[in-house]
């Protein structure tokens, strides 16, 4: 098993070989959402409507009477980052599927706030809204892509990951879509007692992620000690 360079560059880490199975698992992603039968997921049209309502409207009765803050997304553009939306169902209520409700999760990078809105797709109203600080849910594809960009833009880490990629593929790494990546929410408490934990002390209040990265049909890239602070657009290497 040949070590590949990113963490080698940092003085530690070993890479393992991985089979290519599953590399094309997402080949049909992006196809229009379909629903076939009652009780199914939100359709593409419902998802769009839920997000439109959640990002535009004031909270309805029962929710905090907060106008939707302008907010910023993970790239600093106006409007909160849409994390995900899914059909809301009270899991204890057997058989009650008369209303189509959507849970929409947003993250405002301007104020580091997790926003959860319950949208009634029938009436187009926000039924319930909450805003929380210091609470983090898993990152979405847009945030994982941004995290990879932050790593690639980091002078030291970027050089390492490009070297890894070239060593395996003989091609240059120019954009995140050349890599298969997943992410996980990272909190400062996960680094308790770890060397360099001070560098990630804001994680939790800030939205931070760690990545799982592999080269399609190739090996894993060791990113296990890299924490990306998406609220600060900064990557740190700690002693995890």
């Amino acid at each position: 098993m040949a070590a590949i360079g990113l963490l080698g560059l940092l003085g530690a880490g070993t890479a393992g070989a991985v089979g290519a199975a599953g590399a094309d698992d997402r080949s049909d992603h992006g196809r229009a959402a379909r629903t076939s039968g009652r009780g199914g997921p939100l359709t593409a049209r419902e998802t769009a409507r839920a997000v439109r309502v959640a990002t535009a409207a004031k909270a309805g009765p029962g929710g905090a009477a907060t106008a939707a803050a302008p907010g910023r997304d993970v790239r600093g553009r106006p409007g909160a980052q849409v994390l995900w939306s899914e059909r809301h169902r009270d899991l204890g209520k057997s058989g009650d599927d008369r209303r189509r409700l959507a849970d929409v999760y947003l993250y405002d990078y301007a104020s580091d706030t997790l926003i959860n809105r319950l949208v009634d797709l029938g009436t187009g109203r926000v039924e319930r809204s909450s805003r929380q600080h210091g609470v983090q849910v898993p990152p979405t594809a847009a945030e994982v892509t941004r995290a990879l960009e932050v790593v690639m833009a980091d002078p030291r880490l970027g050089k390492g990951i490009r070297a890894d990629y070239r060593a395996q593929t003989s091609k240059p790494l120019t954009k995140p879509s050349q890599l298969h990546a997943q992410g996980m929410a990272f909190l400062a408490s996960r680094a308790t007692g770890v060397e360099g934990s001070g560098k990630v002390a804001r994680c939790g209040v800030h939205r931070c992620v760690q990545l799982f990265v592999r080269i399609p049909r190739g090996k894993w890239v060791d990113t296990s000690r890299i924490v990306i602070d998406l609220s600060a657009d900064r990557a740190a290497v700690i002693g995890l």
């Binding site: 890479a15 009652r38 009780g39 199914g40 995900w84 057997s94 599927d97 959860n116 983090q136």
Partner: protein, 412 residues
């Protein structure tokens, strides 16, 4: 106050469902009346009502005549969720078992103390875009049927053989049975998790989680916390645990008002054993023990022997991981029984406002009117040479068994 309102709405909904169920099976009697298990197959009751249809509904009649019906859905965090799970015994009538059932956390701490992964609450099992929910193909589901979610085939529904449903020299009979198997797969980092539910023709349910894929390619330690893999003894793959939590919201025979009992059989170094029954009237955190099981019963639904219908929780195979105080209190018990709350979905890492964040905190003295069970099964993985790519699947799970749902064996 909000809780009270929800309770009332919930109770009303359940009552409506129960009424529909009774109508559907042509029963005019009150719920407390014995439920006949002996109706012939030819007059089998119509399907129990469900909140889904089409591709999101699973309805399978087994070879012996038993039938399982349920709905399925995918959630961003917990992945596969089964709901409205209804069992119809062979020659029997439909009976609702669970309102919903899903994973609630997969906690993966490494033996050196780090890293510590929270695969449900920090990564999530149900994201198609990131591929944490895997698109399946015919090779994943060779004899079954693939179901799509948002245009992706992510669920396999198949029937698999089960040896020796019974064999009896006295009855001069033998029956090989079958299981309805429902599963999805989640790629989480270097692991592929198989989230599987087996529903047998004798009414038993086996939730289990398989982990395969790749050992962490980066997590190496020493002889104290690892095992040498590969050539020589210089590279120690690190030992770690997979602590899998399931959330089970029972509605025994369609009613939310269930009672939870713990049974122990006491006696050690003596010839006799005696039954010790503990009724859990308040929220409880409990531990596994030899000769211990729990059951969730509906005291108003009796089988024709006059015994209340119930479902037994049988956990016999767990490494019983216990993490550090304060940060991992949710691992300090094996079974939790909590009063139903809509926002209590995750065993750890809950983010719903106005709600506690982990299952140990959900246990705070509430009276149990609509109990929810949480089961934690741990597997401590000490890697072997054989666990190098591709890592053989290791499984962990437990069993849910009907206890007095029917008055007799309904197998043949």
């Amino acid at each position: 106050m909000i809780t009270t309102i929800r309770r009332l709405r919930h109770a009303r909904t359940a009552a409506v469902v129960a009424a529909i169920l009774l109508c559907a099976v042509g029963l005019g009697a009150a719920p407390a009346s014995p439920v006949s298990p002996a109706s012939p197959v030819s007059s089998a009751p119509s399907a129990a009502p469900t909140s889904c249809s089409g591709t999101y509904r699973i309805d399978r009649t087994m070879t012996n005549g038993a039938r399982w019906q349920m709905c399925w859905d995918i959630r961003r965090l917990t992945g596969l969720v089964l709901s409205d799970i209804t069992y119809t015994p062979n020659r029997g009538r439909p009976t609702r078992v669970l309102s919903s059932a899903a994973l609630a956390e997969v906690h993966v701490p490494y033996d050196s103390g780090r890293p510590r992964f929270y695969d449900i609450s920090s990564i999530g099992f149900g994201d198609l875009e990131l591929g944490t929910l895997t698109t399946l193909g015919k090779r994943d589901c060779p004899t079954g049927e693939l179901r799509s979610f948002s245009g992706h085939k992510v669920l396999c529904v198949e029937t698999q053989p089960r040896e020796f449903a019974y064999k009896s020299a006295v009855q001069k009979g033998v029956l090989h049975g079958d299981d309805l198997v429902v599963f999805s797969v989640s790629e989480i980092g270097w692991y592929d998790y198989i989230t599987e539910w087996r529903f047998a023709d004798d009414g038993s349910i086996t939730p289990r989680e398989g982990a395969t894929g790749t050992l962490s390619p980066f997590q190496f330690s020493d002889a104290a916390s690892g095992w040498p893999t590969g050539v020589g003894s210089s590279r120690f793959s690190e030992n770690h645990s997979h602590n899998v939590f399931w959330r089970l919201d029972f509605d025994v025979n369609g009613k939310t008002a269930n009672v939870v009992e713990q049974y122990d059989y006491t006696g050690s170094g003596t010839a006799s054993r005696s039954t010790k029954l503990t009724t859990l009237s308040k929220e409880t955190a409990a531990e596994l023990a030899p000769m211990r099981f729990w059951r969730i019963k509906n005291p108003t639904a009796l089988n024709t022997d006059g015994h209340p219908m119930s479902w037994e929780i049988d956990v016999r195979d767990s490494d019983e991981y216990r993490g550090p105080e304060h940060t991992e209190d949710f691992t300090h018990h094996d079974v939790y029984v909590t009063q139903y709350r809509e926002c209590e979905v995750l065993a750890y890492g809950g983010t719903m406002p106005g709600c506690a964040t982990s299952v140990d905190q959900y246990v705070n003295g509430e009276k149990l009117k609509d109990p929810v069970l949480w089961v934690d099964v741990g597997f401590h993985h000490v890697p072997r040479d054989e666990d190098q790519d591709p890592m053989p699947t290791h499984w962990q799970g437990f069993r849910i068994l009907p206890r007095d749902v029917t008055a007799t064996s309904q197998l043949p």
